[in-house]
């Protein structure tokens, strides 16, 4: 809302002051995220800017923490870089293992959550669904129940069926945590869905499956992908459940960061954090592009 021409001096002052306040709050929001990036290049093992860094001396900066990501945990990090070195890196480097686990668990959990969640959202969006409100609440509850309770409960139960300290256990747990997001986004997409399209498809002779894959899915795809992304990020970022359910084999990136923070704060964590921030920026851009695409598809344009 721009400054109206009839504004008095008090209102003018407030107009600018308001914008300064908002700017301050936005800076508060973004600074911690961005500050991690320069700190990760610190040549010394401290969590703060050394005088050399502030004067932009090149010696004060180094990539050693990024190297440490690769070397930490390797049996013989100084060996010449050949096939053996890569195998060593792939199997033993702690952060590499954590990255592998995070992606493997994240993708598997996302697939489960998206498939089951989309089906359920389709069912829930129909008028005839009995007990819709109750079931929706139940399916959304993993998002609301504090994660410590979920983790505690899952620990007892999964341990008793032998699923603790296994990949499957963690994947199932993360899928359960990601499902509410898929349901929310797909349901939201389905509310604007034109049911007559389905009837048209049926009248043209399509059976249920063809209707789904060729008519429904392309239109709810943005919702599905959006939900899938939320579910992936939830799993990727999740640490409490992994803390209780996972063994050292299944350690994910956040779990590794947790040990690093508790035991020894070394800027390697900042290097990993920088990489994660860059990934977040990438994901954010993807979501924004998808949103614009769906707006184009629906014929709406940004104001």
């Amino acid at each position: 809302m721009s400054l109206p021409s009839y504004a008095g001096p008090l209102e003018r002052t407030w107009y600018y002051a308001f914008r300064i306040i908002c700017a301050a709050i936005l800076i508060f929001l973004i600074t911690p995220i961005l500050i991690v990036i320069p700190l990760s290049f610190n040549a010394e093992p401290y969590f703060t800017f050394t005088p050399g860094m502030l004067q932009f001396e090149p010696e004060a900066y180094s990539l050693r923490w990024y190297e440490d990501i690769l070397r930490n945990g390797m049996a013989d990090p100084d060996a010449p870089k050949g096939w053996a070195w890569f195998t060593d890196l792939w199997q033993n480097a702690q952060w590499i293992r954590a990255m592998r686990n995070s992606f493997f668990i994240g993708i598997s959990a996302t697939i489960i959550a998206t498939v089951l969640g989309t089906l359920a959202a389709l069912g829930l969006s129909r008028r005839e669904m009995p007990y819709r409100a109750l079931i929706t609440s139940l399916l959304i509850s993993p998002m609301i129940v504090p994660v410590i309770i979920t983790a505690t409960g899952m620990f007892f139960f999964y341990a008793s069926v032998g699923l603790a300290s296994t990949y499957i256990g963690v994947i199932l747990a993360h899928a359960a945590l990601g499902i509410p997001f898929v349901i929310i986004t797909v349901t939201a997409t389905l509310t604007g869905f034109d049911q007559s399209l389905i009837r048209a498809a049926n009248s043209l002779g399509a059976d249920q499956t063809t209707t789904f894959f060729k008519v429904i899915m392309p239109l709810i795809l943005p919702g599905m992908i959006s939900g899938a992304l939320f579910a992936f990020v939830t799993s990727f970022d999740e640490v409490v459940v992994v803390l209780f359910l996972a063994d050292i084999e299944q350690r994910t990136i956040p779990r590794q960061m947790w040990s690093g923070i508790r035991e020894q704060i070394s800027p390697t964590i900042l290097a990993v954090a920088t990489i994660l921030v860059l990934i977040s920026i990438g994901l954010l851009t993807t979501v924004e592009l998808l949103r614009r695409r769906s707006e184009r598809l629906r014929g709406m344009s940004p104001g």
Partner: protein, 361 residues
């Protein structure tokens, strides 16, 4: 969608490959991490792997028997052999979580003395075999303190003479004993006094005098970090970690041995461990006279066997004599208290609760 599926399949393939690669007949050895695990890797694990050709997977943990209990009760045991404190060993043994170990299987001393007589009294437990004698002491950064340097346990609680923050482990263990010692209780009477409600009151009152200046640490690697960062002026710590920072990283840290609380660490083998035979073999190897003496080259913890003491030599840098760095060295034992595991096995739940309430209040 197709690309997502493809990448999912690839990831699965990698994941499965990775998972299977790691667990083929490996012995899982669990210890406390950092410099201590490194000393075990050099003195026990590498030589044993070289001798037997087996592989070892080394894991870190922060103490307590929670993970052990969880694994055994769920029937899904992945840890084979764990390095625990004595009170944890006793508790785990009583609850059937670890197997009994017959001292007869242990290596005798080089001169033929059976293991039972060679180990320091009190270091062989029903289910555990001791490796080291370690101690909780307090340390300070000599560069940061001018003039008088701290020399007694009372100095730790003296905020006027030595202003600045203190580091303490976030547990009542050792802290209550320190408090009583600083309050004037003789070393031999500490646990008797602590067993009474008035004694506990007295200990907490003494702790109250410095409560606001305390930074609480949980992992063994933190105290040297806190000193190096300048977060604290003095901190309680495990003596070996401070020594390693001082000798290995040339930090100007000094240890105050007055009022030390010494304890032992033992190997225990979990009930239902997947590699029990290898675990027993590793246990035998690592508790032999030479192995224990070798460990002292890497970290300043005393070997639990009497026959190892004369074999203790120099630190790995070849410059420092390890003898005086041991908790058991005579000049360090003048005002020492041995941790009373029975007391803590009985009272740790209650005192933990009280300690947490005191912390949160």
């Amino acid at each position: 969608m197709k690309t997502v599926l493809k990448s999912a399949l690839l990831a699965t393939a990698f994941g499965v490959a990775a998972a299977t690669a790691a667990s083929a007949g490996e012995l899982t050895v669990v210890s406390w991490g950092g410099a201590y695990t490194k000393s075990q890797v050099e003195a026990y694990q590498k030589p044993w792997m070289a001798k037997t050709g087996n592989t070892i997977r080394s894991e870190d943990y922060n103490g307590g028997i929670a993970e052990i209990k969880a694994q055994v009760e769920a029937g899904n045991v992945t840890w084979d052999i764990v390095d625990v404190e004595l009170s944890d060993a006793v508790r785990a043994c009583d609850e059937g979580l670890v197997i009994p170990i017959d001292p007869a299987i242990l290596e005798p001393a080089p001169d033929g003395t059976p293991a039972v007589d060679d180990f320091i009294p009190g270091t062989l437990s029903e289910c555990g075999v001791a490796t080291i004698v370690w101690s909780t002491i307090y340390a300070y950064d000599a560069d940061k303190i001018d003039g008088d340097t701290p020399a007694t346990i009372e100095d730790f609680f003296d905020l006027e003479k030595f202003p600045g923050k203190r580091g303490m482990r976030k547990t009542p263990k050792a802290n209550l004993e320190f408090a009583l010692l600083a309050d004037g209780v003789p070393a031999g009477d500490v646990y008797e006094i602590l067993a009474s409600p008035e004694g506990v009151e007295r200990a907490f009152k003494k702790l109250d005098t410095i409560k606001d200046s305390v930074v609480w640490w949980e992992a063994g690697a933190q105290p040297p970090q806190l000193l190096a960062d300048g977060e604290v002026v003095m901190t309680t710590a495990y003596n070996g970690r401070i020594f390693n920072a001082a000798a290995g990283e040339n930090k100007p840290f000094e240890i105050v041995w007055d009022g030390q609380i010494w304890d032992i660490d033992l190997w225990v083998i979990l009930e239902g461990a997947p590699n029990k035979e290898e675990a027993l073999d590793f246990l035998k190897f690592s508790t032999s006279t030479q192995a224990l003496a070798d460990q002292a080259t890497w970290i300043s913890y005393g070997p639990a066997r009497k026959s190892s003491a004369p074999l203790v030599g120099m630190y790995q840098d070849g410059k420092t004599d390890m003898g005086p760095q041991m908790p058991t060295a005579p000049e360090n034992m003048k005002n020492a208290v041995q941790n009373n595991f029975e007391f803590w096995a009985d009272h740790q739940d209650e005192l933990n609760e009280r300690f947490n309430a005191w912390l949160a209040g």
